[in-house]
């Protein structure tokens, strides 16, 4: 409201001044045709002559010594070509030790194949290569492994118990990382002087990212070129190349990584898989291509997992519901190993750094720990700690509002960073740029008609029906560059992106970029960005990614970075190519470059578009008639640009109306509203698709999905019969409203937005469900909320009420 002249202002979507001719249009995706006609090529669709198939023998115990290993019978199975154990890897393969350059970090090796010890169910022990997938599995069944079980720790609580068995001998107390944050000197005083202090223990369950295409790869060693090609279902082809080539002691120019069509990732494919390295080892040894396609049981047991966290928090409030201080003890169950390159630090460090979200809180203290357990390793999964920290902050505000009799919207307004408070530097040094926090919740509550709902809620209660409405607001950090990543102190620092724009002799444009889309529609949106720079339709621009031989070095697609960072590089490369075209045309037409513009595939004189040259004619000169080039001009039309932004925050408010069935404990989401602000939208169709898909995964986390383990570390949800992925019956229609606060930190004004849906939904759903039952004295502080949880809570509440009618 009090925006200064020139300040970034939230506008209704569509009226943004920055939108170009193609940016901002909900055009259909280039990618669709291949998927709709069955012509897409995922890893398992790739055929190579002489292809062999791999199957893994995986650990059946969560913690055990391997006392004997006999692969002789497996080698006798018809069709089996080779059997690989840890001993066979020898010194040819370097150890994979994910690193974080922090004194509080305990480095442990992620064994490609287990040696004398296994640390989680599903850990790879032996690799069998055969002429068919069936023969490989037959061979794997004949491998004899003898185990002696050790004590396992399968929960944070068990891992931290005084006499707990150690997952790694070098990690005392099963803690792999233990970092203290902030510690504001006035924190304790604020707690003492608070009007009230809320304490809460908030938990979230372990999740599988569950891309519908599991992991998988195909490695082929070319003896002629002495070169490895690895087709792999990955989000990070260059990271895989650098890492796997390093493990194989192969110079990187002798390795090519191709991410073909990739069937979803959600983070599970943004770290290097052990299997990717092993397949390369097997292919080199076999002298033939080898393929491994993960099945769903393998994916649930051995694929990377995430989101299992416990927050112990204390929050000091003043009498008006303003948070005065937060003290948080954060525990993340990171499983048995760190993964590369993000390490087990990704969840605990993110949680502690970004916990306070869009709230003007200065007194903060956090201790954050990565706890090792005998479960498959954690990797970033969509949202990474934000779903949990948003749940914590939104639960605290919700509890405080209820205690004070405040409207949930009002308590948010009282705690947000003030409208004129941006950029806001929080106590962890995080700088939050402009967003529409106040407006988003106001709009959301209006769309859901909060006052009208309260009346319906009261009436329904009189009929024994339980209705609830809840909200969540959050800041979504996206598009961070190397500066932000360097603060995390990983051994490698991701962040930049490069784009190479090339006009070929026919006038066609190809832009190669290091991002690696796998459902986000980059071929469409990046072309939209470049189209505005080059004055052509996007269908004249081909975007290439996912092949390390064909793209400049880049970091791939994760952390909602592709549109901000990759899009920024593409925009710069497009602009630079446009500049080259103007210069060249200016020379050929004897005009000034400043008088020329690019329109409809031509470089024309501004104001008289009939004077100019078609791209193909300019390109012809640049390649085929170079004698006409100005002196000193290089031949060809090729430019490369990079972008490395500081990062920018999207924001959103989620609101939901739910009904709880008091008999079954089932939760039905009646309405779900998202007010989203991701700055300039490049393609609203894709933005809305990302929001809806993200919300679906957040609802899944709130109500349905959990990887359950026995005390011995046995996975109890090893199939999709037990791990409940919601369907179209559980996920409601989602109503989306857009606000648009352009980012100052991105080339396009866009902010990343791929994870927000998943971040906001759990808190929103939990607040809504709590709102339905809070009058019975029930507070919900964990996800997923199962029907059993609610039935038990409701029956306990009934009994309590009977005893003490208040």
């Amino acid at each position: 409201m009090a925006s200064e002249p020139g300040a970034v202002r939230a506008t209704e979507a569509g009226e943004a001044a920055q939108g170009g001719r193609w940016v901002g249009r909900p055009i259909r995706r280039v990618e669709d045709r291949r998927h709709l006609t069955g012509t897409a090529a995922f890893v398992d669709d790739i055929a190579r002559p002489g292809l062999l198939h791999a199957a893994f023998v995986r650990a059946p115990y969560a913690a055990a010594e391997i006392t004997a290993l006999d692969v002789a019978a497996a080698r006798e199975v018809p069709g089996v070509r080779s059997v690989l154990t840890r001993d066979d890897l020898g010194d040819d393969v370097a150890p994979l030790i994910p690193l974080l350059n922090r004194p509080e970090f305990v480095a442990v090796e992620l064994p490609l194949l287990a040696g004398d010890r296994v640390r989680h169910v599903g850990e790879p022990v032996v690799l069998v290569v055969a002429e068919s997938p069936h023969a490989a599995e037959d061979g794997a069944e004949r491998v004899r492994v003898e185990y002696e079980e050790r004590g396992a720790v399968a929960s944070i609580e068990a891992a931290l118990a005084g006499d707990a068995p150690l997952v790694h001998d070098e990690a005392e107390g099963n803690v792999l990382l233990d970092v203290a944050f902030a510690d504001h000197p006035e924190l304790d005083r604020a707690m003492d002087e608070a009007a009230f202090v809320l304490e809460a223990e908030i938990d979230s369950g372990r999740l599988a990212a569950l891309p519908l295409e599991g992991r998988g790869c195909l490695a082929e060693w070319d003896p002629r070129e002495e070169r490895m090609t690895l087709w792999t279902s990955t989000q990070v082809p260059h990271v895989v190349r650098t890492t796997v080539a390093g493990l194989l002691r192969l110079p990187e120019h002798r390795m090519r990584v191709i991410a073909p069509d990739v069937g979803g990732g959600f983070g599970q494919k943004c770290v290097v898989a052990r299997e990717e390295a092993l397949l390369c080892v097997a292919a080199r040894a076999a002298g033939a291509p080898v393929k491994w396609i993960e099945d769903r049981q393998e994916n649930l047991a051995a694929g990377f997992q995430g989101h299992e966290q416990h927050f112990g928090v204390r929050a000091a409030f003043d009498g008006e519901g303003r948070v005065q201080a937060i003290d948080a003890d954060i525990l993340c169950d990171v499983g048995a190993y760190s993964t590369h390159p993000f390490t087990c630090g990704v969840e605990p460090l993110m949680a502690a750094t970004e916990m306070l979200g869009p709230y003007a809180i200065e007194r903060y203290r956090a201790r954050t720990r990565a706890v090792a357990t005998n479960k498959a390793p954690m990797a970033p999964y969509r949202g990474v700690s934000r779903p949990q920290m948003v749940l914590v902050m939104e639960r605290l505000l919700d509890k405080a509002a209820r205690r004070l009799g405040l409207d949930p919207v009002e308590i948010h307004h009282r705690n947000f960073i003030p409208r004129d408070g941006f950029p806001w530097t929080g106590p962890t040094g995080l700088v939050i740029d402009e967003g529409s926090y106040h407006d988003s919740i106001a709009r959301c509550a209006e769309a859901l008609d909060l006052p009208g709902f309260r009346e319906r809620q009261r009436a329904a209660r009189a009929d024994g029906r339980l209705l609830g409405m809840g909200f969540s607001v959050f800041a979504e950090r996206t598009g961070y560059g190397s500066g932000a990543f360097s603060q995390r102190k990983m051994a490698v620092t991701p962040g930049f992106e490069q784009a190479l724009a090339r006009m070929d002799p026919s006038g066609g444009v190809t832009i190669s970029v290091g991002t690696a889309g796998h459902g986000q529609g980059h071929l469409t949106t990046l072309a939209q960005v470049a189209a505005d720079e080059l004055g052509v339709d996007p269908d004249r621009i081909e975007i290439r990614q996912g092949d390390t031989d064909a793209t400049p070095y880049g970091w791939g697609t994760f952390a909602s970075r592709s549109m901000v960072v990759g899009g920024g590089a593409v925009k710069r490369a497009g602009a630079a190519l446009a500049g080259r075209l103007r210069e060249l045309t200016a020379h050929l037409l004897e005009a000034s470059p400043d008088d020329l513009e690019l329109r409809d595939g031509r470089v024309v004189v501004r104001g008289s578009p009939e004077q100019g040259m078609a791209f193909e004619d300019i390109a012809r000169v640049a390649y085929l008639e170079v004698q006409s080039l100005p002196a000193g001009q290089p031949p060809g039309l090729e430019v490369q640009e990079a972008f490395d932004p500081p990062g920018t925050f999207s924001n959103a408010c989620h609101g939901a109306e739910v009904e709880v069935d008091p008999e079954t404990g089932g939760v039905r989401i009646e309405r779900y509203v998202v007010v989203e602000d991701c700055g300039v939208m490049i393609n609203p169709l894709i933005v809305e698709g990302q929001v809806r898909g993200g919300v679906a995964q957040g609802i899944a986390a709130a109500l349905y999905e959990r990887l359950a383990f026995s005390e011995e570390g046995q996975l109890q949800t090893g199939s999709l019969m037990d791990y409940l992925v919601p369907t179209a019956e559980e996920i409601p229609a989602i109503e989306i409203h857009h606000l648009e606060t352009p980012s100052r930190h991105s080339e396009t004004g866009a902010k990343g937005m791929g994870e927000g849906g998943t971040m906001g939904a759990p808190a929103c759903v939990v607040n809504a469900v709590t709102d339905a039952v809070a009058h019975l004295g029930i507070e919900i502080d964990h996800i997923p909320i199962t029907p059993e949880d609610l039935v038990v809570a409701l029956r306990t509440a009934d009994r309590t009420e009977e005893k003490s009618p208040a």
Binding site: R28, R34, L36, G38, R296
Partner: protein, 172 residues
């Protein structure tokens, strides 16, 4: 190899004779023996529905059927949906128009499911479409685009996938 059986299966109108091991699933026969890789495997235990094809017109999880069971059957896969000139059919158009796909891995299964469904239910309500497509799992879209696309492609709704716009602003 002696236990291979010779089967004859018609896929998208084209007859194939192929020798298969009895344990080979129809999905593997289609994908790896006959090259119809548009059919995808998402779970191999009959839950996700990515491998849905039509066998004699009925939606079938091809991961739960052996190839030998399809002897003499007519199978329809995603490769058979577009016209011979490559033109997308109304259902395919509607999926694109309504952004009913992201990574595309589940898409062939949803398309085949919806193809069979719309033949029997030419004018379904949104509720009915939701119930029908709840047979399959999509991890990317949140289903809304899929539901909208199937409704838009229904013959009773005009049958034109291009009808209407997927962007309904703030509404649902």
């Amino acid at each position: 190899m002696s236990d291979e059986q010779l089967i004859a299966v018609t896929v998208n109108g084209r007859r194939h004779e192929v020798a298969v091991e009895p344990r080979r699933t129809l999905a593997d026969v289609l994908r790896h023996d006959l090259g119809y890789t548009g059919t995808h495997l998402g779970c191999e235990h009959g839950i996700c529905g990515a491998c849905t094809v039509l066998v004699d017109g009925r939606p079938t999880r091809s991961c739960l059927v052996f190839g030998v069971q399809a002897d003499d059957a007519e199978v329809e896969t995603v490769e058979g949906l577009a016209g011979s000139d490559g033109e997308l059919n109304p259902l395919q158009e509607a999926f694109s128009e309504h952004h009913g796909l992201q990574c595309g891995f589940c898409t062939p299964g949803f398309l085949m499911l919806a193809t069979a469904y719309l033949r029997e239910n030419p004018d379904p309500s949104e509720e009915e479409v939701r119930e029908a497509v709840a047979s399959n799992i999509c991890r990317c879209t949140g289903y809304q685009g899929i539901v909208e696309a199937v409704r838009a492609a229904a013959p009773g709704a005009g049958g034109s996938g291009a009808a209407g716009t997927s962007r309904n602003g703030a509404g649902t």
